[in-house]
């Protein structure tokens, strides 16, 4: 496992992680360092565009892997199944009311694209390839968890009406990700050449800046969270990724994904949403407290995955191949 250790270290001292730490530390030290909302939104759109387009362009390559369908199916099942596990664990270990437990569970079934991005970078460092369609898998995993969680919450007055469904399915991030993926497929390698200088060259640098912002938000989450996050909940934020990741590993093994795609599938399963799910739950499950699930996902699980989780998931994927 030496190489795994190397990767772990390489990951920890990568500019991406260090800029995340910078944002986190600065915020905990109460610096006023912050990224304007408009810039954060633009960077997020940029990352969706880049990862989606690249994924699509590589799928467009001759010899499309037949596993695409299976992988997406596996992703959907994971997204819907993980909340059931998470919910049970929370009801057992914490004193969270049912509705909050269901809300938190939804986040862990869904995914975090930035964690996914960080994992692709780690794979690059180790020179491991992965299938472009994993982007589609990521998109497919965003929402099923929400349905599962609403069912778990079993509140008569849940507001998952047609309008909400449409808003969740068509939230800006997903549309940008899927749209860019399709455009990538349509224009292929030529299209990629056209805009490579925009979506490939500066990609890593923008990811650093975005992670700086994530660090700032995580720091705010931790500061706010202190009041609401009890020890059992914090622990859940640390071991749940491992459980989700294990299920992701199992699924990848069943589908027979490549080493790189396995690592990404584990990462997706282990990551927790902080964009699509919170927005959906404010509409569909307003009683659930954002003050619980936002700091937990942003302040505990995201940092864990970014620093320790990803190298571990890559190592596990390697061990499975």
């Amino acid at each position: 496992m030496a190489s795994a250790l190397d990767l772990a270290v390489a990951n920890l001292v990568s500019p991406m992680v260090l800029f995340f730490v910078l944002g986190l530390v600065a915020t905990l030290a109460r610096s006023d360092l912050s990224i304007p909302e408009a810039i954060a939104k633009a960077m997020s759109l940029y990352l969706m565009m880049a990862i989606g387009f690249k994924g699509g362009a590589s799928v467009a390559q001759p010899g499309l892997d037949a596993k695409l369908g299976l992988a997406i199916l596996a992703g959907i099942i994971l997204s819907a199944a993980i909340p059931l596990v998470a919910f049970r664990l929370l009801m057992l270990t914490s004193t969270l009311p049912r509705v909050d437990a269901a809300a938190v569970a939804a986040h862990y079934g869904s995914i975090s694209i930035v964690t996914f991005l960080a994992a692709t970078q780690a794979l690059e460092i180790s020179g491991i390839k992965f299938e472009g369609y994993m982007v589609a898998v990521a998109a497919a995993m965003e929402t099923p968890a929400i349905i599962a969680a609403l069912w778990l919450a079993r509140t008569g007055e849940s507001r998952m009406d047609s309008m909400t469904v449409r808003e969740v399915m068509l939230n800006g991030s997903i549309v940008m990700l899927v749209g860019s993926f399709l455009i990538g497929i349509a224009t292929g390698a030529d299209g990629l050449k056209v805009i490579a200088a925009f979506i490939i060259d500066p990609f890593k640098g923008i990811l650093c800046l975005f992670l700086l912002d994530m660090g700032i938000i995580a720091g705010r989450g931790l500061r706010e969270g202190r009041k609401n996050l009890t020890l059992p909940i914090i622990l859940f934020g640390l071991y749940m990724p491992l459980i989700g990741g294990a299920l992701g590993a199992l699924a990848s093994w069943l589908v027979g994904l490549s080493l790189g795609s396995t690592a990404l599938m584990i990462t997706l399963a282990a990551s927790a949403s902080y964009i699509a799910v919170p927005a959906a739950l404010r509409l569909a499950l307003p009683e659930a407290r954002p003050a619980i699930y936002l700091p937990l996902s942003l302040g505990v699980t995201f940092p864990f995955n970014l620093t320790l989780g990803i190298p571990l998931y890559v190592a596990v994927a390697a061990a499975l191949h």
Partner: protein, 103 residues
């Protein structure tokens, strides 16, 4: 200059709810509304700040509409039903306008 008394309803609401509040105002046949950006805030549900927030959740906007006193309740009741379970606040105040027909 002659002015006419109207009411101003200020609605602080979560961004994900915004469209629903607007639709409600439209259904009530209100003459118009305005949405103001909000930077940060604190309430019983904790503090929040717009900077860096990527998603739509966790941030609020302010929607205000000027309307005739007689219409306030038509708006407040369905509005309250919509936002009572959400994060946010609603206030009503007095204003004077120059063109009463406009509202």
């Amino acid at each position: 200059m002659k002015t006419h008394p109207k009411k101003r309803i200020d609605i602080m609401v979560e961004v994900p709810l915004m469209q629903r509040v607007i639709n409600l105002l439209d259904q009530q046949g209100i003459g118009g509304y305005t949405v103001l950006p909000v930077l940060a805030g604190r309430g019983k549900d904790g503090a929040w700040h717009r900077d860096g927030v990527v998603g739509r959740a966790g941030a609020l906007v302010m929607i205000f509409c000027i309307l005739d006193e007689t219409r306030v309740d038509e708006v407040l009741e369905p509005l309250f039903a919509l936002v009572s379970r959400q994060i946010g606040i609603v206030t009503v105040s007095d204003v004077q306008v120059i063109r009463p027909d406009h509202f």
